[in-house]
Amino acid sequence: MIRDRLREVSGQIIAIAVALILGAIIILLVGESPVRVLMTLLRGAFGDQEKIAGTLLQTTPILICGVAACIGLRGGMFNVGIEGQLFLGGFAAAWVGFAFALPPGIHMLAALALAVVAGAAWVAIPAYFRARYNTNEVVSTILSNYVAVLLTSYFTIFLFKRPGGWSETPPILATAYLPELFSFSRLNWGLVIGLVLALGAALIFRYTSWGYGVTMVGSAPKFAEYGGVNVKRQGFVVLLLSGAVGGLAGGIETLGVHHRFMEGFAPGFGFDGLIAALLANGSPVATIFTALFFGALRSGSLLLEVDTSASREIITVIQALIILSVSAQVLVKRRGDSQAGERRWKF
């Protein structure tokens, strides 16, 4: 079993390595030194305590979105709509934050609660169609992203725009702020929430009857059905939970970082989270590390344009390469295994 584990992890590591090597080649092609880029990235991500805090700040939403994706993947559901759920959650939290006056603490919890509800409600439509008509949730959740982003833009620009200024809502009241962890950074309690969620999800999947059923729905749906697990209902529930956590990620971004909602509020965190979860093979605990990896790439890249001639977009390229090699890795995984061989032969 330990050997299997190692083999699986080694696959992920190979995937990242392949992506980095290809990335290095591309960096060479644009006339930069890969070593210099790497050093700059590392310095930008971990150079001093502020940089580390900055990395963790970027990691937080990726981690929470990653946990959201893991929850879906466990039950065999591909929630590609986390980005949209994040936007709606972010807007919902902002609205509670600026439109109501509530006591400190309670205000924040109310805002987060509405973010959760908004995320869950947003995925409820694809989830319902999946459960009722067996519609492919990948397609419907992807499409729901566009609607979510545009819908929140509409709210921000036409209904709740701050007079004068940018396309953003009024700032939320300080009573709804998510407390910061350190004085020198905007890094906030969201990170702790993310870690607790990841560990909590792992424990629930491993140690509860419900989690067992969901896991079986994800890995062997016919077996689960036979054993009395309601496959459709669990698929619905899992998507809803996934959406709820996606909404929470947005709420935490609003209350912890931006203190308002604005257009282009948290670009790509939902997708990064999904990739982090896939790279972690759907394990919430492993997602902590893959999210950190993507967070470091993001924050390190800020320094990239300042210190080197490489563009920040190179990071996007590397990410895309990772996605490609992770998917390719599924094909070569467990080559020595006779079952995998069987599959190889048969397809």
Partner: protein
């Protein structure tokens, strides 16, 4: 056949041996699955490989086909020393393998599946017409009846197997390995398969097949190799052997499949089925006007050629398929109103016919597989929290009680041999305290020693007052176990015969759809 057994004239052939394995050893960790095995297969013969579950048969064939690498030993194909690094090498050397559990693409047509990965092209596009024509020609030549245009998802396992064989043929195989081909077939389909295998050797091809059915081995093979605990016991011409000798070589003792003695029992009605109708996946009627009862302490057998409604009957009774009309009552509760989980709670245990899909999660551990269906009950969980210690201990106990050959409860099910996977399912279902056991093909792919043990276990469950519905395509199994046998044909129950002294001719007629005149009807 005879000429083969005596060594057919192979004068102008390059080598007499199609396959020669020497000193093959394969270890999985500390476990030795194949221990210095020599195997020589003559060209143009049908070579049977037999042995208990976990004896190492599949492992040996996977090594030959390049799916596994041996730790020691060498392989000669057609007289040439070959390192079979992967199946591509084996295929090039003229080998083809039909696996124990096959995988086809359900959404593609038969012909597309056959040519998957080696499509016939014309102007860069797939030439469907040519693929269909070629598939049709091959299927005619070797008596493998299929409709090349049909979608695989709608076909029975028997036909899926023919497709797998066709796949092997179009890849140019001259030596064909079949891993337990008859485990999933009806007796009729098996006979057809043997015709096909004979037509292969008639064309000078070679067949290696694994089986647990000794009658078939006696009937169709020229040579038998027996494996036991990873070692080769013997290779002998079939003509020199009797079935009893084979059993002794395999198991090391006598095994009996005579009718089991039983105390007469007449319990309460546990399952009552009344005028039940249901449709299959294609929405065609699969069950028509099915009525019967099962009482506690009795074994009711369902005989019939596979595909005559048995699967659908099992699915309706376990809540996995809705009935379109009629009712089934388990201890008075109408099953139509209950979910699969509620039916289980009402007292159903179910050994599914399709074990790899319904019966287990191959990737999960034995312990996790044995938890299914009881994850909400003490002592496995309390207030929704699983007790993995209890789950593991229970699994260890079942592994011992049911003689499952595994290293421990943490072993992934996919690591087990086919027969041991079936034992995992049986162990789980027979121990969950249900009053009604729905048992579908319990000994499919199980070796004869274990078959006997499973039959004993079913009789023990009967003695404990369970009501048992036993679906099997093997008449001898029904004759050994059932108190009454119902025969299904085309979704209907054609009639009932007593299990004691079951009249095979009469059953055979009813299985073919001829309603035999009622003889001495059972008193109700």
């Amino acid at each position: 056949m005879v000429s083969n057994a005596l060594g057919s004239p192979t004068l102008h052939m390059k080598a007499e041996m199609a396959v020669a394995l020497t000193g093959i050893t394969k270890r999985f960790g500390a476990f030795v699955a194949n221990n210095a095995i020599d195997l020589a297969v003559r060209r143009g013969e049908i070579h049977a490989i037999i042995g208990e579950n976990g004896a190492g048969k599949t492992t040996l064939m996977n090594i030959l086909f390049g799916l596994l690498q041996p730790d020691e030993g060498s392989i000669r194909l057609n007289g040439e020393e070959t390192v079979v690094t992967d199946p591509a090498v084996a295929i090039k050397a003229g080998l083809g393998m039909v696996h124990q559990h096959f995988k086809l693409v359900p959404s593609l047509s038969v012909a597309d599946n056959v040519f998957l990965g080696m499509e016939i092209r014309r102007h860069g596009l797939i030439d469907h017409a040519a693929q269909i024509a070629r598939t049709r020609e091959l299927s005619k030549r070797f008596g493998l009846q299929v409709d090349p245009t049909e979608r695989v998802g709608l076909l029975s396992v028997g036909i899926e197997q023919r497709i797998e064989i066709l796949k092997v043929l179009v890849r140019g195989a001259r030596t064909i390995i079949l891993d337990e081909p008859t485990a999933v077939l009806t007796p009729q389909e098996s006979r057809e398969l043997f015709q096909t295998l004979r037509s292969f050797v008639a064309e000078g091809m070679t067949v290696i097949f694994i089986s647990h059915h000794l009658e078939e081995v006696m009937e169709v093979s020229d040579t038998v190799t027996v494996l036991r605990n990873g070692k080769k016991v013997a290779t002998r011409p079939t003509a020199e052997l009797s079935k009893d000798e084979l059993v002794r070589m395999m198991v090391g003792r006598e095994v009996s499949f005579d009718r089991r003695p039983r105390a007469p029992s007449r319990g309460d009605v546990v399952l009552q089925v009344e005028d039940l109708w249901a449709r299959d996946d294609r929405r065609l009627p699969a069950l028509r006007n099915v009525s019967f009862t099962v009482r506690s302490g009795e074994v009711v057998g369902i005989a019939g050629v596979a595909g005559n409604g048995q699967t659908e009957l099992a699915e309706v009774l376990s809540g996995l398929r809705p009935a379109s009309h009629g009712a089934a009552r388990l201890k008075g509760q109408n099953l139509a109103a209950l979910s699969p989980r509620e039916i289980r709670e009402a007292g159903l245990a179910h050994v599914p016919g399709d074990r790899m899909v319904r019966g287990v999660d191959r990737n999960a551990s034995i312990a996790a597989n044995m938890l299914m269906g009881r994850q909400h009950r003490a002592p496995w969980s309390s207030s929704g929290v699983l007790n993995w210690t209890a789950i593991s201990e229970n699994a260890s106990r079942l592994i011992k009680d049911f003689d499952i050959r595994a290293q421990g409860p943490g072993d992934a099910v996919k690591r087990l041999s086919g027969g041991n996977i079936q034992k995992v399912v049986l162990a789980r279902e027979f121990t969950n305290g249900a009053d009604f056991l729905l048992i579908d093909q319990p000994t499919r792919g199980v070796d004869i020693g274990a078959q006997e043990a499973i039959h004993d276990e079913i009789m023990r469950q009967r003695a404990a007052g369970r009501a048992i519905l036993l679906i099997s395509v093997q008449l001898d199994e029904l004759a050994a176990l059932a108190d009454r046998i119902l025969v299904m044909f085309n979704g209907r129950i054609m009639g009932e015969v007593a299990g004691d002294g079951a009249d095979e001719d009469r059953i055979g007629m009813m299985m073919a759809g001829v309603a035999a005149p009622e003889r001495a009807a059972e008193p109700a």
